[in-house]
């Protein structure tokens, strides 16, 4: 017999497929069969359609595509005979799912079959509808199903009940129609109908509140009686499972009672006795009995409070917990989580057992136990529990370590009574499972460390010791490197020793060794290496004697292929080499990081333009520019000196690290972007006038030599001069002009002014409509630089708007314009616009300043342009 004709019996096809030795052979056989079937379908071959569909179903189960068979199913369903219909419906349920549009075509067939005289066919139709029905079909066929709920044959009734469940899940609005019929089902004698009826009622209550009310009023007593009879019933062979009559019905009834009793005291009262009876009478040596007890306990936990019952329930759970059967223990752990909410004392009693379960070899039990432990933790037992968990962390499986360490970290964070304990625990966790720990965990750790100044010495020493022993944990290394960098002096000097510590001797070289090893490890990633570089910079400042050695280490990374490292290496090298004066200021101790803002930010997840893990506090004026925001820990450590300022910019931490706050003061337009002759990048240098500028007179806003490389090497322009004068602007105003505000009383007079020799003001330009005056001050730290305050006055009776001042200077001068105070000039000298200019004269002493200027403004809707050259600068500028 040729096995590949469409006349093949299905058995033979299956045999042929099973005989194939390789996947390729099997594919060939299947292909041939599919081809034959397709041919038969297109020829409309009636004889073997039954067989073909069966074959197709088998092929589908093997995993091959069988879409071409879908219409065949429909055809078969439409035929009159029962066998064809049966295979058709079977094929339908196997090959299609409810989302296919083809399903719509079946609706009519199903409708007809639902009204068929042959009850087996009705059964088939109900089955298909129940397993496959989509929402539209449900709506169309709901009336038919409703009618069938009262059919004479119990088989049909039970199928109709389950079909209804699907209908109300798909179309909740129809639920109301089914409430009465469902209630009737509850009075059945036939167990099949009864159980389906109970399930239907449960789902009705879930879907519709009206149903819930109805059943609460009418059915509870009936249900209670039903369950009682069931529990007390004698041996019934048909439904008996391990000595209990129909445990499934028990379970379903209990579930329905739970749904009805939840939140309703009266309902709960009527069930109390019954639940007590079930809880005590059911035997628990077989799985069926345990299933019933489990459901009973769940019901007791959910319904309204009854002290006695609760105690009973918790006792049962306790018994379960000590059972040897893993399934039972699992179930107990699950239920105990709910019990925590009700009676935590009782659950605490079982703490030891639960802790044992965390170490169970079975992963499912471990997970449940861990979650339960997490719920159990409170202030009293946190230390003990954490100790146990950390001990277990050492021996646990790698897959479990991630979960376990995450849980330990959250417990420690939530409940730690004192900082030193917190730090200790975190250190242990990091040493064991640092690689599994998420980033914000160790960020939080660093925040806490900075907030505990008395523990700095202890922390850095512990970290030092830890790093000597454990070397694989990346996060531990990062935290250690950061701390060594920050608190190296404490490390060396053994300062702040606590009683519990043993003294250790660490030399400066040792400290550098730690960082050097870290940076040299092959397995260190970008973050760690970058942190090491910064730490090295800090160390070079704290241990000047080792500066050379540190410089060498950094030097090695100047050729790194990673841009971030290369950049840092070059910059730091340059700082160490050439800018020693500012180095110590740069890397002073980090200020205390504000925990509240950190956790707030963490919760609110403000996106970080330049992310700093410690959330560089907004208070620190930040003149540092990072061209490419690195996802790394430290922006350069900022000197914070005496940051007394409490100016904190709300949640706006990283508002404008670039410092070039191009967002103009309200009155300004786009003017400030036009600065003739000035390289935009130059602005980066000086300006860095972050909005959250400190009000203090303390100055060190640094623009460091970072900028030098981004703006090209500005020879002759040392970064320092730009510093001091700016400092005391009022916060919030990004315009610099307030600095040398000639008009308003300037409370904070820049230091520079008093020191520098004064130069007479000049009238730079005067026309019939406009007057420009320049006031000069010299920068005290540099002879080259002059600060000019330009003042523009309107001599005409018209208001000038869109006022823009532009200036150009010859090559030996460098000019920088700050934003003007406004761009509207009131009429007749009623007010003025001031703008600050900064000029740096590379030929100071040899040539004096000259400038060409150009002024644009609009008056009476006409644009006006005025130009002029200023040669009247005082000598010596």
């Amino acid at each position: 017999m040729n096995p590949f004709s469409s006349g093949t019996r299905m058995r033979d096809m299956i045999r042929a497929i099973r005989a194939c030795k390789t996947a390729a052979e099997e594919r060939a056989v299947v292909r041939k069969e599919c081809a034959a079937i397709r041919a038969a379908i297109s020829e409309n071959d009636q004889d073997y359609s039954h067989r073909n569909l069966a074959k197709l179903m088998f092929i589908h189960m093997l995993g091959y595509p069988t879409h071409f068979g879908q219409m065949e199913c429909l055809k078969l369903i439409a035929t009159a005979g029962f066998p064809e219909k049966r295979i058709g419906y079977l094929g339908l349920m196997l090959l299609l799912d409810e989302r296919q549009e083809v399903l719509m075509l079946v609706t009519n067939s199903i409708k007809q079959d639902l009204n068929h005289t042959n009850q087996y066919i009705v059964g088939l139709a109900l089955c298909a509808l129940g397993n496959l029905g989509s929402a539209e079909m449900a709506r169309d066929l709901a009336p038919d199903v409703e009618r069938l709920l009262q059919f004479r044959d119990p088989n049909i009734r039970k199928k109709a009940a389950l079909c209804t469940i699907r209908i109300i899940k798909k179309v909740p609005d129809l639920a109301e129609n089914f409430i009465k019929p469902a209630a009737v089902l509850l009075k059945e004698k036939h167990h099949g109908v009864l159980i389906t009826g109970v399930q239907l009622c449960t789902d009705l209550c879930r879907v519709s509140d009206e149903a819930l009310e109805y059943f609460k009023k009418k059915s509870i007593d009936g249900l209670v009686k039903l369950l009682r009879d069931l529990t007390n019933s004698p041996y019934a062979p048909e439904y008996d499972i391990s000595g209990i009559t129909d445990p499934f019905l028990h379970v379903r009834l209990l579930k329905l009672l739970r749904v009805l009793g939840e939140g309703d005291a009266d309902a709960s009262d009527s069930m109390n006795d019954l639940l007590a009876q079930v809880a005590t009478k059911t035997e628990s040596n077989k799985n069926a009995g345990n299933a019933i007890l489990y459901e009973c306990v769940a019901a007791i936990m959910s319904i309204e409070d009854n002290g006695g019952l609760r105690v009973l329930a918790v006792n049962i759970l306790g018994r379960f917990l000590s059972s040897r059967d893993n399934n039972i223990r699992y179930v107990a752990l699950n239920m105990l989580m709910k019990a925590m909410a009700l009676d935590s004392q009782a659950v605490q009693r079982h703490r030891a057992t639960i802790l044992e379960c965390v170490k169970d070899p079975d992963a499912s039990i471990r997970k449940r136990a861990l979650e339960l432990v997490y719920l159990l933790v409170n202030e009293n037992n946190v230390k003990q529990l954490t100790k146990d968990l950390v001990d277990y962390l050492e021996v646990s499986d790698p897959e479990f370590k991630g979960d376990l360490s995450a849980k330990i970290c959250s417990i420690v964070e939530k409940f730690s009574p004192e900082k030193i304990w917190y730090i200790d625990q975190m250190l242990k966790v990091l040493s064991e499972a640092g690689n599994y720990v998420k980033d914000d965990v160790w960020h939080a750790l660093i925040v806490v460390i900075t907030n505990a100044p008395n523990l700095h010495g202890y922390t850095v020493r512990s970290l030092y010791k830890a790093v000597q022993t454990t070397t694989e944990q990346e996060t531990l290394l990062r935290v250690a490197v950061w701390c060594v960098g920050e608190y190296a002096d404490l490390l060396i000097s053994n300062a702040g020793m606590l009683d519990i510590e043993d003294p250790i001797t660490v030399t400066e070289a040792d400290a550098v060794n730690v960082v050097e090893t870290a940076i040299g490890r092959d397995s260190s990633d970008l973050t760690t290496r970058a942190m090491c570089l910064i730490a090295l910079l800090k160390l070079s400042s704290r241990f000047p004697s080792l500066s050379k050695r540190i410089n060498d280490i950094i030097h090695r990374h100047k050729r790194s292929l990673v841009l971030e490292l290369q950049q840092r290496a070059i910059e730091f090298n340059s700082i160490i080499g050439k800018h020693e004066k500012i180095r110590s200021a740069l890397v002073e101790r980090m200020p205390v990081l504000d925990e509240a803002t950190f956790s707030g930010r963490r919760a609110g997840s403000v996106p970080n333009a330049v992310s700093t893990s410690q959330g560089a506090p907004p208070k620190i004026p930040n003149g540092v520019v990072k061209p490419a925001p690195p996802p790394l820990v430290d922006l350069l450590d900022l000197s914070s000196d005496d940051v007394p300022t409490s100016v904190s910019v709300g949640g706006d931490f990283l508002h404008d690290l670039l410092g070039v706050d191009m967002s103009p003061a309200p009155s300004q337009g786009t003017n400030q972007t036009k600065k003739s002759g000035t390289d935009m990048l130059l602005d980066l240098l000086s300006i860095g006038d972050p909005p959250a500028l400190s009000n203090s007179a303390a100055l060190d806003i640094l623009s460091t030599s970072q900028d030098s490389q981004s703006a090209g090497d500005l020879s002759g322009k040392s970064p320092t001069p730009l510093l001091s004068v700016k400092a005391s602007t009022s916060a919030g105003s990004s315009s610099m002009m307030d600095l040398l505000d000639g008009f308003g009383a300037t409370p904070s007079v820049p230091v520079a002014v008093t020191d520098a020799p004064t130069y007479p003001s000049i009238v730079a330009f005067e026309s019939s409509s406009l007057k420009v005056t320049f006031n000069f001050t010299k920068d005290p730290s540099s002879q080259h630089t002059t600060l000019i305050e330009a003042q523009f006055t309107n001599k005409s009776p018209n208001i000038y708007s869109n006022f823009v001042f532009q200036a150009a200077v010859p090559k030996f001068l460098q000019l920088h314009l700050d934003p003007a105070s406004s761009n509207t000039l009131p009429a007749s000298g009623d007010g003025s616009i001031t703008q600050t200019l900064r000029i740096s004269n590379s030929q100071h002493g040899k040539k004096s300043l000259v400038m060409r200027m150009r002024i644009n403004y609009k008056v009476n809707n006409k644009d006006v342009l005025e130009e002029g050259q200023i040669n009247t600068f005082p000598r010596g500028l």
Partner: protein, 142 residues
């Protein structure tokens, strides 16, 4: 509610798959593969319940076949374990000492039995006798 029922052998071949929730074709294979992987590696001493995505899988091994039921997370696991056993008993009775080959060659009948036992993700009948009788009637019509 039962989301799907899978019968798989040790090698991962699916002998029976019934889904009560809609899934894409590609999803089907992925799900079957994942469940198989979860279930086949577990020690017999471990619990019969595993967490699978946002649901639970309750499984039991009979000879070379794994019977897996995927249910909602709030369902009573022990009860479903009983129902798996009941199903196996029915199959055993119907095929008299059922083995895997019986299920392979008579898969359409297995589906019929299943459809008499579970409908729309819920239990339909709890009496073995009733189901067997019904199957008998249906066979006569065929």
């Amino acid at each position: 509610m039962i989301r799907f029922i899978l019968l798989q052998n040790r090698q991962g071949k699916t002998r029976l798959a019934k889904y009560y929730i809609p899934l894409e074709e590609s999803e089907l294979h992925k799900v079957e593969y994942e469940v198989h992987r979860l279930v086949v590696n577990r020690d017999p001493k471990f619990t019969n319940f595993v967490e699978f995505r946002t649901h639970k899988v309750i499984y039991r091994r009979y000879a070379g076949l794994f019977f897996s039921l995927c249910v909602d997370i709030t369902d009573n696991e022990l009860a479903y374990l009983e129902s798996i056993h009941l199903f196996v008993e029915i199959l055993d009775h119907f095929f008299t000492n059922v083995c895997e080959l019986d299920l392979v060659f008579n898969f359409h009948k297995v589906y019929l039995i299943l459809d008499e036992f579970i409908l729309a993700g819920e239990l339909q009948e709890t009496s073995k006798k009733a189901i067997i009788e019904r199957m008998g009637e249906l066979e006569k019509l065929d």
